[in-house]
């Protein structure tokens, strides 16, 4: 079959006759002649990669990935699995979206530009801030960009960023890398029962702080109760207040603008992408006054020759391809297609659906915590707070043993401390809660 024809790329359509005609046209004897590569650095070997048919690769990957255990995941800590409606896949997979490039020719890319403009607008509504870009890579890199922005826009030079002592490990590490290039140091402030310890934060604040970062919900799933105070403290020291969240949480919890957030970061792929082994999309929104310091792409509105409203990438002079080392960020390829997915998912839910989903995140976690608290040997939630999607549970048995036993029963949970598990419930796991409670009851005994 042609499918298995291994003479060349199946996606290079040249017939032999065509290749010859083209070689003749350029006056070359062979394809090799066209490679202007000095002999010493020529590669004459093989990669030893056998070509396979698409049929066999599909079978191979079904098989390989099939080696993953089939677990029901009660995992969260910065990455959440909500049900993504079919509509998202079917529309986002349309090739005009999926296979297009960055919209440098807006006249022929109006559709994608409009979709990104709508994505930006949804985040403007959810955050209450005036400007949202059309994506960073993920929550961690968005936070990193917030740190570099804070240094650029802060009136007094500052080189400290204060972050919660408990945050997702990866997010902190990425932040430290971004910060280090700008000479910013990252310091932790203490938590009090899963929320910001406001007094402790106050003690740490000084004029050399550029950024105060808090999360809502926090990495442990608690809903932050002192956001307004944190914002006030940050502003009192002329630091930017950066809030981490996600679009589902934003639909219900305090509006970032109303608590003084200057930047909102987070992972917007809680809508539109599912777990995806950690792939996400960095949400980045900020105040209009920082517009010209925003990293990444922005879609704006203009007019075309027919006088109709048209969309275009705008303020590109901030970007690396124009400003090079003076750009606001080095980002070029971003997560535009994920932004499209997030927007479609949000639109599919509508405001009622989004708020309902967010309220479910509170009640599902609350109900599961209560049920686990009824199990002998478990105390949940560990923090005396309201929770969003997830919570910690203290176990009499070592948490690692409990998690291992649950794994055998087909469930994945986080171990966050010697006697502490973290458990996340979303709409995709809601149906499995009964089985999970039964399994926990069994394994903690």
């Amino acid at each position: 079959m042609t499918e298995n024809d291994t003479r060349g790329s199946p996606y290079a359509p040249h017939t032999d006759a065509e290749t010859q005609a083209m070689l003749d046209a350029v006056g070359a004897d062979s394809e090799e002649d066209l490679f202007d590569i000095p002999e010493p650095v020529r590669f004459d070997g093989q990669f030893d990669i056998s070509p396979r048919s698409e049929q066999s690769i599909r079978a191979e990957l079904r098989d390989t990935l099939g080696r993953n255990d089939d677990l029901t995941e009660f995992l969260g800590r910065g990455h959440y699995d909500h049900y993504v409606p079919s509509l998202v896949d079917h529309l986002a997979d349309r090739s005009e979206f999926l296979t297009s490039y960055t919209q440098y020719q807006p006249e022929v890319a109006q559709g994608f530009l409009q979709a990104l403009f709508e994505y930006q607008s949804m985040l403007v509504e959810l955050t209450g801030l005036e400007v949202a870009n059309c994506s960073m890579y993920d929550a961690a890199t968005a936070l990193g960009e917030a740190a570099t922005l804070s240094q650029r826009v802060r009136s007094v030079s500052g080189d400290r960023a204060l972050v919660p002592e408990r945050m997702a490990e990866g997010r902190r590490s990425v932040l430290e890398n971004y910060a280090s290039g700008s000479g910013i140091t990252v310091e932790s402030y203490p938590m009090a029962d899963g929320n910001v310890d406001v007094d402790a934060l106050d003690d740490l604040l000084a004029e050399d702080v550029a950024l105060v970062y808090a999360e809502n919900p926090t990495v442990r799933g608690t809903i932050e109760e002192s956001l307004g105070a944190v914002g006030d403290l940050a502003h009192a020291h002329d630091a930017l207040f950066c809030l981490g969240s996600d679009p589902v949480a934003l639909a219900l919890l305090e509006e970032p603008a109303s608590v003084g957030a200057d930047v909102v970061v987070g992972d917007a792929s809680t809508l539109g992408l599912g777990t995806a082994y950690g792939m996400g999309i960095g949400l980045f929104a900020t105040r209009e006054e920082y517009l010209r310091q925003v990293p990444g792409r922005l879609v704006g509105v203009g007019e075309d020759d027919s006088g109709r409203r048209a969309y275009t990438l705008t303020l590109q002079t901030r970007e690396q391809h124009i400003r090079r080392e003076r750009a606001t960020s080095n980002i070029c390829t971003n997560q535009a297609w994920v932004a499209l997915r997030t927007a479609i998912h949000a639109a599919w839910l509508g405001p009622e659906g989004l708020v309902d989903l967010a309220e479910d995140c509170v009640t599902l976690a609350r109900d599961l915590a209560a049920r686990l608290d009824d199990v002998d040997g478990v105390r949940a939630p560990a923090h005396d707070r309201h929770h969003f999607r997830e919570f910690c549970a203290r176990t009499e048995r070592p948490a690692a043993d409990v998690a291992a036993a649950l794994q055998t029963e087909g469930f994945a949970v986080h171990v966050v401390d010697e006697h502490e598990l973290q458990i996340c419930v979303t709409d995709t796991t809601a149906d499995a809660v009964d089985d999970f409670v039964a399994a926990v009851t069994e394994v903690v005994a």
Partner: protein, 472 residues
């Protein structure tokens, strides 16, 4: 002619929010106390059929690789095989990133195999899959270089970048805290060896180089370049944007590069998605492996796969493991082509660029070319040329860059076009070349929107429908 869905004299397809919105009040039966919630949220409120129509129309008002030729220079707009979408959509591909190693052996094995493939293709000893894009790969690579120098007690402050390089190289070096030293090109558009020798010093952390460069020309002096940089104690960084020109013909590792990133959405045909996601795995020579981002994957003696933290790791450049679903597609593409297919892809990419360059009336300076060439629009404005080309049903080249060519038309047809399509492209170039300013100014006519005034749009930025509302 592209579809053009017009709603009125004022607009094309209305915004979601212009169709219908609902404001939902929060409270009453909310499970949270009032002081922890917002008051209300107002968002578009449309039925699924309406959404399907909205996005179907928007899609028809966009242009992808499957709409027609897309010879965007430096962007490598290859066909994205459909089956790679299906493998990335396998439910088992999308597990949670915090699963324990023993429960995701399939995922880890696939990561391991892909690391191995990429290493062989680039001639690199160790690979990380974590960077979520090319620029993120550059950033990871420069962090590795920095950590390497620091570990060697070798404080260096400069990164050298040729003037023809991608803007990301400059921005990345700056983001990592380096001073950027711009290297002027020689007459032939390549690295000026003398200038390079003059530029290197004890402060040189790295030279970032694209090869073939953005003019499509191979840096023939690559061995000398490597010597100069290495002799100064610097590292050689390979920007993988143009790797599609070399598959199976030359490997960055063999040329002396110490660090490289792979643009899988270019070389390995994962979709560009209107700007992303891509992925930017990074390969390094053995001595740099201990500094790579954490975690990486290795195979244990008993054949299992596990994540591990490289000894002197720079930490992380992505919150989890990067754009994994993109990497699944990368693996599938490489497996589909294998040795013969990868080599053929480069051969045909280079043949196509050379053939097209020879067919068009515009002047094409420099050369010989590999996968792309930069023509000059001469007296015409390259941006106008691009707008007019749209009317011929093709996507134009990258324009006005690199600046080394006047009114640049940077053209990369890739291997996916055949002679028939290249001839159509050449006809479009030549038709535009023969047209007068009036015709160019009036373009485009055959697109979803007519010419857009981008300067005016930037003058009064309106970045959300809320901003439009305020106006009216």
């Amino acid at each position: 002619t592209q579809a053009r869905w017009t709603d009125s004299e004022e607009r094309y397809e209305p915004l979601l929010a212009e169709k219908d919105t609902t404001e939902v009040e929060i409270g009453g039966d909310s499970p949270l106390p009032d002081d922890l919630t917002r008051d209300s949220v107002e968002l578009p409120s449309l039925s699924e059929p309406e959404l399907a129509r909205h996005y179907t129309r928007l899609s028809q008002m966009s242009y992808g690789v499957e709409s027609g030729p897309f010879p965007l220079g430096s962007c490598t707009m290859k066909y994205n095989p459909k089956f790679t979408e299906d493998v990335a959509a396998l439910p088992a591909a999308g597990v949670h990133p915090d699963r324990s190693d023993e429960t995701v052996q399939g995922t880890l094995e696939l990561m391991y195999r892909l690391q191995d493939y990429l290493g062989r293709i680039g001639g690199m000893d160790a690979v990380t899959l974590q960077p979520p894009a090319g620029a993120a790969g550059e950033y990871a690579g420069i962090l590795v270089a920095k950590a390497y120098h620091e570990a060697n007690g070798n404080d260096r402050s400069e990164v050298i970048v040729p003037d023809s390089a991608h803007g990301t190289n400059f921005a990345t070096a700056a983001l990592a805290g380096y001073d950027v030293l711009e290297l002027p090109s020689a007459e032939d558009g390549r690295v000026d060896l003398d200038a390079l020798e003059a530029a290197v010093s004890d402060d040189t952390a790295a030279l970032m180089l694209t090869n073939p460069n953005t003019l499509g020309c191979f840096e023939r002096d690559i061995e000398e370049i490597a010597s100069v940089v290495h002799d100064a104690g610097g590292l050689l960084y390979y920007d993988g944007a143009n790797l599609n020109a070399l598959l199976g013909r030359a490997r960055p590792g063999d040329m002396g590069f110490d660090i490289m990133h792979y643009n899988v959405h270019k070389t390995f045909a994962t979709p560009h998605g209107g700007g992303g996601p891509g992925a930017g795995p990074v390969g390094v020579a053995e001595r740099l492996a201990p500094f790579l981002p954490s975690p990486r994957v290795r195979r244990t003696d008993d054949g299992a796969f596990e994540l591990f933290e490289p000894e002197q790791t720079v930490g992380k450049v992505h919150g989890f493991q990067g754009n994994w679903l993109v990497l699944v597609k990368t693996y599938a593409y490489i497996a589909r082509l294998g040795d013969p297919g990868l080599a053929d892809a480069s051969a045909k990419a280079v043949l196509n660029a050379n053939y097209l360059a020879a067919q068009i009336d515009y002047e094409v300076p420099f050369g010989p070319f590999h996968h792309e060439f930069v023509a000059s629009a001469g007296e015409q404005d390259a941006a106008d040329v691009a707008k007019r080309m749209l009317d011929y049903g093709v996507h134009p080249p990258t324009t006005k860059w690199p600046e080394i060519v006047d009114e640049a038309l940077m053209t990369e047809p890739t291997e996916i076009e055949n002679k028939r399509t290249l001839d159509q492209l050449a006809a479009a170039f030549d038709a535009v070349a023969a047209e007068d300013e009036e015709a160019l100014d009036a373009a485009p006519q055959q697109t979803a929107a007519r010419r857009i005034d981008q300067v005016a749009a930037a003058r009064t930025p309106r970045l959300s429908w809320q901003a439009l509302d305020e106006e009216s």
